[in-house]
Symmetry: C2
């Protein structure tokens, strides 16, 4: 019997692939806020954009249809996690992560650098690459820039990331400088390997490092520009530094990145952080905050966060956020969501995640509208007034 599942693969393989490019749709006059359009082999992305994190080939608790219903334009996969589980040989059998996980919109994968820094055991960086032991079974691995590209080509990421080294906060100027050099050299090797093996039209982004030192951030950005990438990311932010310092580093780095390429802030952050980063000229964001906090019962709203376990919601027929049009807010009361959460019901995680992802995605949609209307300043003021006063 012919399995309908298998027919689908062929359809995906045959379709026309448009090569990656970026166009700026508008730049807000009074601020640096931008609106743009990214074209990838799996479709276009309107920026600013929030990208939900699908660590292991699934955005925790959601199905692809849930994400499409939330207007998720692109999601992330984690190279480190997928390389360990289920392994590239499994995903290769399916022709890539898109087909394996049943997602037909764009995918971005990180290079694994950050997870090796934050999750792996006994990690050691050499010129060759990142040596580490798996956090699952202790097995030994070496991730070189070339290997990181090979894995991402296998995954079929529309946007791949160069291998970088992430350093802790605080770090000395000397340590940050040395690490930056390694990230640049790995970036160059990533680019060379990518050019030889990439799938047609797929993109590679470089990652700016340099710790919390403005001069090093500038140096890193310039070195990456010299290599030349399809887009540029800021890495090593939101690693424990004060919020002001994070914004300062972004403010210093972004002007050194080319205007005509997308700018991606990795692993950031709270809704306030995103609105501030867009203000500084950033285009793309990913963060586990909405998904992870959803599973801990914290729901984001236009009036600030709400803890669904709070007894005040016990009989409340109100939706989580009266301004929200997501599936959860249209269909469920705070009382029901509280009941599910208190009972640790599986549906709780999905409904909470749907709301939080909807909040982050629609926040970026509104930011885009504001840029296109040349009114980002007013949007910014209104957003902070509401979220900080709760009124």
């Amino acid at each position: 019997m012919l399995c309908p599942f298998q027919i689908k693969f062929e359809e995906v393989e045959e379709r026309y692939v448009e090569p990656f490019h970026f166009t700026l749709d508008a730049v807000c006059e009074k601020t640096g806020a931008r609106a743009g359009t990214l074209t990838t082999p799996h479709g276009i992305i309107k920026t600013p954009v929030f990208m939900p994190v699908g660590t292991l080939g699934t955005v925790k608790s959601l199905a692809p249809e849930d994400l499409a219903g939330l207007n998720a334009q692109i999601i992330l996969g984690n190279t480190y996690h997928l390389y360990l589980r289920p392994g590239c040989d499994v995903i290769d059998e399916f022709g890539g992560l898109h087909q394996f996980m049943n997602w037909d919109r764009p995918l971005l994968t990180d290079s694994g650098g950050f997870q090796i820094f934050s999750l792996a055991k006994l990690q050691k960086m050499t010129e060759e690459g990142a040596h580490f032991q798996s956090h699952i079974d202790g097995s030994r691995h070496l991730l070189t820039p070339e290997k990181a590209m090979e894995i991402q080509v296998c995954l079929g990421s529309d946007i791949a990331m160069a291998l970088d080294e992430c350093i802790p906060y605080p770090a000395s100027h000397e340590q940050a400088l040395e690490s930056l050099g390694l990230t640049t050299r790995w970036g160059k090797r990533s680019k060379e390997a990518w050019e030889q093996t990439k799938r047609p039209g797929h993109a590679l982004f470089g990652i700016v490092q340099g710790g919390m030192y403005g001069d090093l951030r500038k140096q890193s950005a310039e070195e990456l520009r010299e290599i030349g990438f399809d887009g540029y990311a800021l890495g090593g932010l939101s690693v424990g530094e004060p919020r002001d310092l994070m914004l300062e580093m972004a403010g210093i780095s972004l002007p050194y990145l080319p205007q005509d390429r997308p700018r991606y802030i990795m692993g950031v952050g709270k809704p306030q952080d995103l609105v501030d980063m867009v203000n500084l000229g950033a285009d793309m964001f990913d963060c586990v905050l909405p998904t992870r906090n959803a599973r801990n019962g914290q729901l984001f709203t236009s009036r600030g966060p709400l803890n669904i376990c709070n007894a005040q919601h016990r009989t409340s027929s109100l939706p989580v956020d009266e301004e929200c049009q997501c599936y959860t807010c249209r269909n469920y009361s705070r009382a029901y969501l509280r009941h599910l959460y208190m009972s640790r019901e599986l549906l709780s995680y999905r409904l909470n995640t749907i709301h939080n992802i909807a909040f982050f995605i629609s926040l970026m949609e509104k930011a885009r509208e504001a840029v296109l209307a040349n009114s980002y300043e007013a949007f910014y003021k209104d957003f902070f007034q509401k979220i900080e006063t709760g009124a």
Copy 2:
């Protein structure tokens, strides 16, 4: 601001309510297998029917749309669980369980008798009712027949169940006889309380007990008929007895129940059990098996169960069951489902549950078609041949 959630309540309240009734559409000539139509205030149900279990106001891991997509015609809620969490006062605020959980099709609730028997601590039955301590916090409660009706009226169940006492297996004839007497007297009190407080058109079923003694099953069925219920259930089966004994008890009991009322086998069972019970003339089933086993990685198929964690599925692009048309089988490979399960991803539980519920529901749909075509015998033979040989 007017919340769209609240508007919905009013719509539900205003609609026309058709009173409960049952019609027999067909009875298979060579076997006792029946096809029928149940009409309830929230819609009709074609029998034989499998009813997914929504213990705490949610079928674990599924949203109402998932259930509707699976053609779930009716689901269960557990009186014992909902009484303890979130409590009747919360559900009463919403006008009933339908509105609280966003489910607009029929609902059946049990009376709590079985959960007090199997879950509660320090349970003690007196003539007055069931005394027990909550399995959650140890709080003390008394569930009388009158209280069980009050709770189910509050929940707004289309089909409520009389309070019964469930006994362990094995039990002596004396113990089973004494318990049967209590169940009959509680059934009478349940009926009296129900008649005074029920919502218009809602139904009450009685529960046949009597342990594993044919004479007591007959006595129980006759005593319940004397009281008169809208439908009749067999309780106290699948409590540890051999499968043959369970079928023997059903075979003895069912003929003593009225032909023109629905017959419900509580808490049973495997696919094979359902097919055998339909053969004996049963109409309705509920069981946690498909949902619970889904969360443990066991998937039901027309060729027997499949354990998704098995290494043989590591790179398999096959669906779980090539004969299945469910969302999971149409969109995901065994390899992806195995990966999700091994990674303990939340999506695993939902996709597995969707498949298992689809299997149970479609099995009963096929059974109904066979009865209508007067070919249940052939269906029965084919089903057991496939599932037992795997070929």
